[in-house]
Amino acid sequence: MTESDLVQGCIAQNLACQRQLYDRYKTAMYTLAYRITGDFDDANSVLQDTFLAVFRQLPTFRQEATLGAWIKAILVRNAYKQTTKIKRLVAVENLPEDSSAINWNIGNMDAARLEQAILALPEGARAVFVLNEVEGYTHREIAEMLGISEGTSKSQLSYAKKRLREMLVIN
């Protein structure tokens, strides 16, 4: 079934199509939700809210972006909202923009240790880091999705990189 057929099926409220769409994106979306919220219960809740919003808003989907990108944008907003229910961005001193790429030393890096370090970052900095370094969004896109300024996005990323370097002892 093509994505367009799937969308039409979902708009017609066909449960099998809705399930298929969910199955197609659930792992990627859940992983991202967990990485932003840092909590599996919150990730469950975010995923559920996101797909309910997706199924309700699908008739308004104008295919300006891919379906996956559209779902991801909804998810990121929901996940960030979930984290900011409790806390906001950490106050970051004026760090110079850190545009240097971290050498993740992919071959030797212990994925579990890296994941733990990312999850140990403060919520706001973690969200920006995940969106920029893992998901590949630009600061402008991040700023738009999270409702923050581009400058804040940049400073939170610098802070996140600095903390990760410290935690993982990377140069």
């Binding site: 792992t27 992983t31 994925a111």
Partner: protein, 182 residues
Amino acid sequence: MSDLKKILPVYTPPDAVWEGIAEELSPLRGLQTTPPDAIWENIEAELSKSKQKSRYRFWGWYAAAAGLLLPLVGAALYLFLQQAPTETISYSEEKNTAQKVVYNSDFDQQYARIQALCTKRITACQKPDFKNLKRELDDLTTASLRLQEAIGTYNTDADLTQQLTDIERERGVILRKMEQRI
């Protein structure tokens, strides 16, 4: 895909997430609702009215029966007293039938049903007001069990019994609120 994304683990959501979504999407959702408290209060009021009515309806019959029986009972009593010795010793035994107030285990079953529903309606159960109700219920349940223990088998302290009754009533109210929110 970024290098980082390639090495980081991926996670699969539990089945309960989809079950919750499917239930929310179901066309039957919303048709099955818990009626508001006012409905039960109306029923209760109607029931107590009809009880009073039926009491009045039979009053005439009671009066007629009493009028007929009174002379007969009077005559029988007169005859009995004529034959009976003047001094008597009597004793009687009474069984204490006072109901022991007990911890309502039906509430535990109701709570278990709510928890089962929570695995499907994750969003509703994670809302702060639902969590507050749950916390309140947990506190009341603990208090209720402690009181039950303090009251013991013979249930002689009226104050403690009253407290337990109040707590059990409150638990019922909270469970109903939790059901409404879910």
